[in-house]
């Protein structure tokens, strides 16, 4: 762990959240917290409710019970749009990029909320609107440099290989300069080399920008290396919570992953 990073108080608190789709229960009374500047992992077998949890945090789903407190503010119903305004950015399990647009344009959409010039000024392409474009362009270029994707800057995202698209999606989230970054399986489907790159980027983001990160991941070794604390879900319930070492030794976690002997 690096010296520059100091884990602070709770940034996000999930309290007793339950979510059901009709008769299917996705989450049942889940509580945990995420502290400032930490990397928090959510793991669990398929269908454990990990993505649902992320979708609750970023306002895609509204839980039937329980609350989410972000930056000390208890919120009732939040839409993804408002969550983004509050400083939450995310990536998706099945990449959700704007495929027809260039890498640069995709990252620029990440700056959307930071740009203030109104539609009329933009439509007329007035000086202030143009200057604003340039200002934000600089920030985006910094993200591009950081992620080492300079060479594909102008390429339409749809034409990039899968691993690269994942990286661009991370870039779009970073462009928003979020306080909380949600990563839904950032390394799914990657080869070893790509995974190493992505791990390095995630650690650097956390380290250099101080961004708090919540990530979902299947690859246990990755999770153990990256995260400060781990939540384990199984069938929509929290079955363990602690440091990677604690979680690894937990009987119920081992059972959930390997099956229980009868």
């Amino acid at each position: 762990m690096s010296e520059g990073r100091r884990i602070g108080g709770p940034l996000l608190e999930v309290e007793d959240v339950s979510l059901a789709f009709g008769g299917v229960v996705a989450l049942q009374g889940v509580s945990f917290d995420v502290r400032e500047h930490e990397v928090r992992a959510i793991i669990g077998p398929n269908g454990a409710g990990k993505s649902s949890m992320l979708n609750v945090i970023n306002g895609v789903y509204h839980p039937q019970r329980g609350t989410v407190v972000f930056k000390g503010r208890r919120r009732r119903r939040v839409d993804p749009h408002e969550a983004a305004k509050q400083g939450i950015a995310r990536t998706f399990q099945n990449i959700a990029l704007f495929r027809g647009m260039s890498v640069l344009d995709n990252l620029m959409t990440g700056r959307n909320l930071k740009m203030k010039r109104n539609v009329l000024e933009q439509a007329l392409y007035l000086g202030p609107a143009r200057r604003e474009e340039l200002e934000h362009r600089e920030k985006v270029e910094a993200v591009i440099d950081f992620l080492e994707i300079q060479h594909v800057r102008r390429t339409p995202v749809g034409r990039l290989p899968y691993g690269m698209q994942k990286r661009v999606e991370l870039g779009r989230a970073l462009a928003a300069e979020p306080e909380l970054l949600l990563l839904d399986e950032p390394m799914a489907g990657m080869n070893v080399e790509e995974k190493q790159d992505m791990s390095r980027f995630i650690l650097d983001v956390n380290d250099q920008m101080g961004t708090t990160i919540v990530l979902i991941e299947h690859d246990m070794s990755v999770v153990m290396d990256l995260s400060d604390r781990v939540v384990v879900l199984d069938y929509g319930r929290k079955i363990a919570d602690g440091t990677p070492d604690e979680v690894r030794r937990d009987r119920r976690v081992i059972d959930a992953y390997l099956g229980v002997a009868h």
């Binding site: 983004a84 305004k85 495929r99 344009d105 539609v119 439509a123």
Partner: protein
């Protein structure tokens, strides 16, 4: 040969006017996946409103500005009353809603301004360009040329808006992926209003140009039907497609009328584009520039 070019140029210039109509459809379809059947009604409404204001004594430019304001109000209302309650409904539902919207707009337009055919004079006569007539003997309409110039300007402005500004990027983003757009903090409702205002603006330009040529009348609403083959040729979600599609439709219908018409007794201009579109549907259903959809089965 000279005659061929004369017909071709006339056709292309007419095609630009079709492109304009199609452009309005493409804008809304791209951003919201809605096929806006009311675009024709909007063209009619915009033109009629302008003429209405001028007949009340307003100077032309003021009337245009007022009409633009009315179209913007219409966009707000449409988003509020029609689109927002139907969010996440199947596309066909939204399509049906726009058919209803078309009737409402047509009704309101005629209720407010009356149902008479009105003349609209943009100050450019529909007569041959003498300079060109003297040199080459070709008959090219001055009005058509000016109209094409205006259309080209409009497309250029839209291109800059779409490619160089935040809102333009947000529009393209919404067209690409709703979920991802929400996650980066783009408000769908706001974007829809902007798209409908833009489509209203295009409808206004279209209405003024068509109205100046054919008179501002109810028949303008049928322009929507003329846009269909253009859209099928060019692809529903491509601005470039709308332009090229319009040019192809314009040129081919005039050429077909002149060269094939005599063999079948003439009058094929009105249905030839649909035949062409039908052929296209068989060969390339996504259109020339449309996005090819590959669905998982």
């Amino acid at each position: 040969m000279q005659f061929f070019f004369e017909v071709l140029i006339g056709g292309l210039l007419a095609g630009v006017m079709y492109s304009l109509v199609a452009l309005g459809f493409v804008l809304i379809f791209k951003a919201s996946g809605v096929f806006n059947f009311a675009q024709g009604a909007m063209v009619f409404f915009a033109a009629l409103t302008t003429v209405g204001f001028t007949s009340m004594g307003a100077p032309f430019w003021l009337a245009v500005a007022l009409a633009l304001g009315v179209m913007a109000a219409l966009a707000f209302l449409t988003e509020r009353v029609v689109l927002r309650p139907l969010v996440n409904q199947p596309q066909i539902t939204l399509f049906m809603a726009t058919i209803g919207l078309a009737f409402v707009i047509e009704g309101v337009a005629q209720l407010t301004w009356g149902a008479n055919v009105r003349a609209l004079d943009l100050g450019v006569a529909d007569e041959p360009i003498e300079w060109l007539m003297d040199r080459t003997g070709m008959n090219v309409s001055k009005f058509d040329l000016v109209a094409s110039g205006i259309a080209a300007g409009l497309v250029a402005v839209l291109a800059v808006f779409f490619n160089k500004t935040r809102t333009g990027r947000a529009l393209r983003a919404v067209a690409d992926d709703h979920q991802a757009a929400l996650a980066v903090g783009i408000s769908l409702q706001r974007i829809w209003v902007i798209v409908w205002i833009t489509a209203g603006f295009v409808a206004l330009v279209t209405g003024l140009l068509w109205g100046a040529r054919n008179g501002v009348q109810f028949a303008l609403t049928f322009l929507a039907l003329k846009a269909l083959p253009v859209l099928i040729l060019g692809g529903l979600d491509s601005i470039a497609g709308a332009i090229v599609g319009g040019l192809i439709v314009g040129a081919s219908e005039k050429l077909a009328e002149v060269y094939l018409g005599p063999y079948v007794g003439g009058g094929i201009e009105s249905w030839f584009p649909y035949l062409l579109a039908l052929g296209f549907l068989l060969v390339r259903p996504e259109g020339l520039f449309g996005e090819r959809r590959i669905d998982r089965v």
